[in-house]
Subunit: 111 residues, 2 copies
């Protein structure tokens, strides 16, 4: 499998796993959003909890220039570590929610 | 064009127009996320404005059971009205961010 296809599959697996363990009800759904053309991937919650509106991404990844950008992670899972364990080199991972300045002090890519 | 294809195209057009008028910079991008398999559609901003993190959906649509769900609208545009003007019957539009109770008092669908 070529690198990009592998990265896409890894990301889809992570999001799908989280969607499955998510507490969903008739009123709140976990939406898997996979755009393989623009390479944007998101897990999003949508619905109502009683009279409270629920809407918001839980995790969001992009793939750009062959690198995985972790743009948002609302879970306790250390996704970058998880990706490395699954064979992604740290140089192919960008922690988008860390400032570019901060990124230089990590083992991951800056851009 | 069949109804679903037409609805998909309308939604993509609305999001694409908004992405184009969006103020983006090298640091902040407007992401179009089109998942035509699960029928989730989103415009999302991602990046950094100086040392401030920018991340969040601006508009989000779903198509479910032949109806367009407006799940989130962070713009001033009255999207439901706009959809009706483009030929979508109000009975095929659900304002997801209105509570199910409130929806019965509008011209749009409840579910």
């Amino acid at each position: 499998m070529d690198k990009l296809e592998k990265y896409r599959q890894l990301i889809k697996n992570i999001l799908t796993e989280h969607a499955q363990i998510a507490t969903t009800t008739d009123q709140v759904k976990a939406e898997l959003i996979f755009d393989t053309e623009h390479d944007h991937y998101q897990l999003n919650y949508v619905g109502w909890q009683g009279d409270k509106r629920i809407f918001g991404p839980v995790m969001h990844f992009d793939i750009e220039d062959g690198k995985i950008w972790i743009q948002y992670n609302g879970t306790e899972e250390e996704i970058a570590t998880h990706l490395v364990e699954m064979g992604v080199p740290p140089a192919d991972i960008v922690i988008g929610f860390h400032s570019p300045f901060k990124r230089q002090f990590t083992r991951y890519a800056i851009v």
